[in-house]
Amino acid sequence: MKKRLSMGFAATAALALTAGLLTPAQAATTVVVWADESRGPNLVKTLKDKADWVDGVEIEIKSFSGFDALKTAIDAATATSGPDIVVGANDWVPTLAKNGKLAPLTLTATQRAGFSASQFYDLTYKKKLYGVPVDVNNVAMIYNTKLVTSAPKTFADMVDYYKANKASKSLKAGLCVAGGGMSWGAHSIASALGADAYYFNPDGRINKSKVFNPNTLGENVKKYLLDAKKSNGFLPASDTGCKDNFLAGTVPFAIIGNWEWTDYTAKGFTMNLMPVPGVVSGQSGNAFGSVSGALLTTFAATRGREAAAKSVLTDFFGSAAGQVAYQKYEKRPPAHKGAASSASVTDGQKGFGASAAAASVPQIGAILNGSGKSYWDSLPAYWTAVLVDGKDPVAEAKKLATIYRNNLRAAVNDI
């Protein structure tokens, strides 16, 4: 007994002593940033080149093994171990804000001027801004110049080309979605056929009551994508194999994402990028452009680091110089206007920029995530229903429109 007690006391005493010795005064404020498996290492490299973006503040990056891992971690994080900033998808903003995990920040007029208004849309919830846009993600349609000699002017041009050449060139499909999936990437197709996710008024604000006309979508689908009741093969209902087929030359048109353009140029494709042509000449389908944001958490304030974190956001993540330095490694189009014009803009990025300027809509999580059925699950279900299951396009379009309407109604106060 005695031995044990005395050992215990000795140990505690030792601990007390060492604890006293081990807490030196903090030299600098540290701001902790969480990022995923590709951004994290790239940020580390950026900071190695130059670390003193904010006076007296040290930026520490923690990289997670995957995007899902990052999401799970930020969902579970509390003030004890959570980050001060998290670099994540813009559609996390509404949920994390509702759960009290994100804190808003206010930018000065000068700072705001560096970005376009629609980029802030992505990161705003209930009129408060929760982060700064870091880089732009968008999709555009590319066509294979070896197969298609001139850019198609209407949707019908593409379909006719496919039907005419299907046998002779052994085409596997006409237009497929190689980047962004059947909800995000395929929005431009749905939009070209008459079904945008939401509409804007001329003053740039969301039209809070307009939803697409299901008859228009249904009829267009029947006319262009179906043959009798079955799919005519022009548009596959899933994105599997699209990239491989396009690269192999068996699909003439594809929707690709700006994060993968190097894969195409590496195989010798020229970046003939354009929006998806609409059914009427001169119109085109709107593609989603979204931004990834560096978001501010409430944990920063709890730990007395909020001002430092906000400085990191405005002076590093959201500054032209910071974005240029970061995109040197990340190689995505930066969101800041100053960075976009001065960074080493490659053909691929120029092409995407032009296409985005022609026809793009911001990704507004509050509406898309919805209250019951999200947009993300519903649009792919529509493609499957009409292209695979052979259901009536107009009836299914009506169901889709109802879902959109419900989501818009539920989100009206949040945007």
């Binding site: 044990r4 050992m7 000795a10 007296g56 930018l107 001002a307 405005t314 499957t384």
Partner: protein
């Protein structure tokens, strides 16, 4: 080793080990207490007492064997179960996630509004005559002043040293705070005087923004009152502050509120939740049973076939075991690729165009097939060993009595096998009842008629359905998911206990 030494030496060694462990745990308890983690400190303290009591006491022999296991079990398995039980009685979902105090402080922090111009100024944070203050440069309007909590002191730009942008860097009686100290300083939380009800607060290290408070909290009546309009927000008993005149106007964020049995009631009353639950439950039972049946039969067949020594038996055995040894994540994903409609290997081999994962029946068949692939090696091994364990005299005696191989199998081998393997069959059933990985990775629970509003897919089992509710993309309803977990548990426990009783497995324990 300890048990070889008798008496004193053994005791000394045991005491020393225990002393070391207790010292470490004591240290941890102290630190836990010091950091305010009272629950953990309490647990550790109890652990120390229990460990010492157990190992120094001659009468607690059984405890000596399993006290470490029990302590670990309680810490990491029982606590989450209790947590789930408690959470099932709360409204705990997206928008009602944090505690009430946290919600109140968040609402207060969010209840600030910029002025009409969105004014923001360059500032330097520091102290003025001993008080926290900011040196403000409104460059656009050429207005410079020092702001403390209560005063605003205008300055003449001529007396200040400004940088090339016109931002004042210093003033008399003003001492700037070092950059690394600003964030944690008092100044970062203060509101500096501007005009009327507007104040300036430190936004980032060198920017201050003009705000005014839009809501005020009254703790004695637990209400928020709007300072701009007339709205009053009260606690609606369900985790939100709601405008008394407009029930749709809620303050965010909300908090998790005890809702007692409303989650459970919802399970029984809400059509949207109840009907998928029933169909998913039926499929889960069917899935688990079919899995066990197919895996067992297939494994048994193979065991019987390879029971006789044939050439290359060793090699066959090794190959047959491989599916079990490969990381299942990899295998399931490859199988998923194989079932692809256009490019998958299965359709290529059969020469068909079956949309495996878009059709409910085919998807279910695919799921059973893949699970068969994953699990038959286990049953093959197990049946193999069991067949060898059955004494051959029994079978020989039956043969002498004139029974043919079929009868021997049916009347002797099979019943004995079932008796031997029943704990494993039960365990396999329970495991597959909750086989989340397979469903999630292979079909994601689909196919689902999304547009018709279906929540549960054709291959969703209870646990994957619950997971969707808890961690889906839209509304994450953890309270409801916990309630479903508890219900699943009650059902599975009942079935397993019944199975255990029937197989008389527990007899061996009395």
């Amino acid at each position: 080793m300890t048990f070889m030494l008798r008496g004193r030496v053994a005791f000394v060694v045991k005491a020393a080990l225990l002393a070391l462990i207790s010292a470490v745990l004591l240290m941890l308890t102290q630190s836990a207490f010091g950091q305010g983690q009272y629950a953990i400190a309490f647990f550790l303290a109890v652990a120390i007492i229990l460990l010492n009591f157990t190992y120094f006491n001659k009468r607690t022999v059984p405890l000596k064997f399993f006290i470490p296991g029990i302590l670990l079990l309680t810490a990491f398995v029982v606590t989450p179960i209790l947590y789930t039980l408690v959470m099932s009685t709360f409204t705990y979902k997206t928008g009602n996630y944090i505690s009430k105090e946290q919600a109140i402080s968040r609402i207060q922090a969010l209840a600030i509004e910029p002025d009409e111009n969105g004014s923001a100024f360059d500032i330097v944070v520091g102290t003025y005559q001993g008080q926290s203050a900011i040196l403000v440069s409104d460059v656009l309007n050429s207005s410079y002043f020092i702001s403390t909590q209560n005063d605003r002191i205008p300055l003449d730009v001529a007396t200040l040293n400004t940088d090339e942008n016109g931002v004042a860097q210093g003033a008399s009686d003003f001492v700037a705070t070092a950059s690394e100290d600003i964030s944690g300083s008092e100044a970062a939380k203060l509101r500096f005087k501007f005009r009327d009800e507007y104040f300036i607060s430190v936004e980032s290290l060198n920017v201050g923004v003009v705000y005014r408070q839009s809501l005020e909290y009254f703790p004695n009546v637990d209400q928020f009152k709007s300072l701009i309009g007339n709205a009053v927000y009260v606690d609606n008993g369900n985790g939100n502050y709601v405008n008394t005149n407009d029930s749709a106007d809620k303050l965010e964020p909300g908090w998790r509120d005890p809702a007692w049995f409303s989650n459970y009631l919802r399970l029984f009353q809400d059509e949207q939740v109840r009907s998928p639950l029933i169909s998913v439950f039926i499929w889960t039972v069917v899935f688990a049973s079919l899995t066990v049946l197919t895996q067992f039969s297939f494994g048994l067949l193979l065991a019987l076939a390879l029971n006789k020594p044939i050439r290359g038996r060793r090699i066959y055995r090794s190959i047959l075991v491989l599916p079990y040894a490969m990381p299942s994540i990899m295998s399931i994903l490859i199988w998923g690729g194989m079932f692809n409609t256009e490019f998958g290997a299965i359709n290529e081999i059969i020469g068909s165009q079956i949309a495996w994962f878009q059709d409910a029946t085919f998807a279910r068949a695919a799921v059973i097939l893949v699970n068969l692939w994953l699990g038959f090696p286990y049953f093959y091994l197990v049946c193999s060993g069991s067949l060898q364990a059955i004494p051959s005299e029994l079978m020989e005696a039956a043969a002498i009595d004139g029974a043919n191989p079929r009868q021997i199998f049916r009347k002797i081998t099979l019943p004995l096998l079932l008796q031997i393997l029943s704990p494993l069959l039960i365990a396999s059933f329970a495991f597959n009842f909750n086989n989340f990985n397979l469903i999630y990775l292979l079909t994601g629970g689909g196919p689902k008629a999304q547009l018709d509003g279906e929540i549960a897919g054709a291959t969703d089992i209870l646990i994957s359905y619950t997971y969707q509710i808890a961690f889906g993309t839209n509304i994450q309803d953890l309270g409801l998911a916990s309630a479903i977990s508890v219900i699943i548990f009650v059902i599975v426990a009942a079935i397993s206990l019944y199975g255990v009783k029937k197989s008389k497995v527990l007899e061996s324990f009395s």
